[in-house]
Symmetry: none
């Protein structure tokens, strides 16, 4: 049976950048519809169903935020990602250039965007559906299989994860590059949020950090008083 790809609406006024990003996303197995301004974007949104919208914030005639509001009025569920700072675009472009000759093998900067996209979609689908569709995660050079509770690092013996380790890492991966609130992990994994469970969680964060040391590009950052953020550099 033919599995259909996830569909992305990409709204970007910079034609050159838009085309490149579209190519890149399509190479990564997404169906992409590109609109070159807010109005066209909204028209296309109304005519089809999408799994994700990527909106440039700075656009003439109708900016990304305004478009997002319109989209929200039509559909309260669809995930929306903003392309904000120039830096991000530049990263993607740079990544594209770097990877152009060998993009299938080398990891490059725009993978951050890709990772975020995947994580967001997965979060959405795990919110609506109780049964988690996906249980495999790429975290830098690591590969996490959260069903078998294995964390693989190429060359090394697979690391067996305990149930708590596994759930916590999975939760972090689900929020890759984004804030994973303390309270979320505590209520979802520990089913209780108090001083002791919180300390317990810290212990597990330390354990995960130890495992993840193998790849210096992978880090669990703390956001004081808020939670943690799994980041994959480069």
């Amino acid at each position: 049976m033919e599995k259909e790809n996830k569909k992305i609406l990409l709204v970007e006024d910079d034609q050159n950048f838009g085309a490149i990003l579209k190519d890149y996303l399509m190479l990564n197995d997404f169906d992409v519809v590109l609109a070159k301004n807010g109005m066209e974007g909204f028209e296309k949104f109304k005519k089809d169903t999408y799994d994700l919208c990527i909106l440039d914030v700075m656009m003439p005639y109708k900016d990304g935020y305004t478009l997002a509001k319109e989209i929200r009025e039509k559909n309260k569920e669809v995930p929306i990602v903003f392309l904000t700072a120039k830096t991000m675009k530049e990263d993607v472009l740079k990544g594209y250039k770097v990877g152009a000759d060998d993009y299938l093998n080398k990891p490059f900067d725009s993978e951050v965007l890709l990772m975020k996209i995947k994580a967001i979609m997965q979060r959405k689908s795990s919110e609506t559906k109780a049964e988690n569709v996906q249980f495999e995660f790429q975290i830098g050079k690591f590969h996490l299989n959260s069903k078998l509770r294995f964390l693989n690092f190429p060359g090394n013996e697979p690391i067996k994860l305990s149930p708590k380790e596994n759930e916590l890492l999975k939760m972090l991966a689900l929020y890759v590059e984004d804030l994973m609130p303390r309270e979320l992990a505590l209520t979802k994994i520990w089913r209780d949020d108090n001083y002791f469970t919180s300390r317990s969680m810290d212990v597990y964060i330390a354990k995960l950090r130890k495992y993840l040391k193998e790849d210096p590009n992978v880090e669990i950052l703390n956001i004081h008083g808020e939670g943690f953020r799994l980041v994959v550099k480069k």
Copy 2:
């Protein structure tokens, strides 16, 4: 259903400038009604509902301040922006001319006005709706992510912000180019307005200034006895 744009009443006696500014605002996705003097402005104000009024201060028959008073009597909520010195007009004109052949890509001076308008609108909408999902701000060369609490300057390591630093900078950004009253930050962020919280705030202003030193075009100005103003020069 088509969502309607924000509506702006623009009162400007200089026909040429008024038309250009109107065009510029419309290109930025606002609905604009142009009146060419204070009396016409008030008539048009009474006949419709606006999200913002932009009033030229220097006008024959009825100056901007007088008009503003009348408008305020009718409506205590609507944001009012004054066009004061020539400099700003010249900036916009200059910007428009410079950008005329290439305005989609190059940033130009009138973006300050646009920034102000957007900040004002945003403030209004965040007053009414608590679910303001807006947490990314461009401040000169800096990029503030107030959800992850970091301040990025291209080339440097991201600066982690403490909760108070973060909220204060966000508040200043919300009032870009405009007065951010002391009392507002104190009541909203410190939830108390006394001598000590006020001194605490000054300490945080000093901290932010230190961070913002990287970009000489970004400054936090003090307005004696009133508050602070975040400005982005050039």
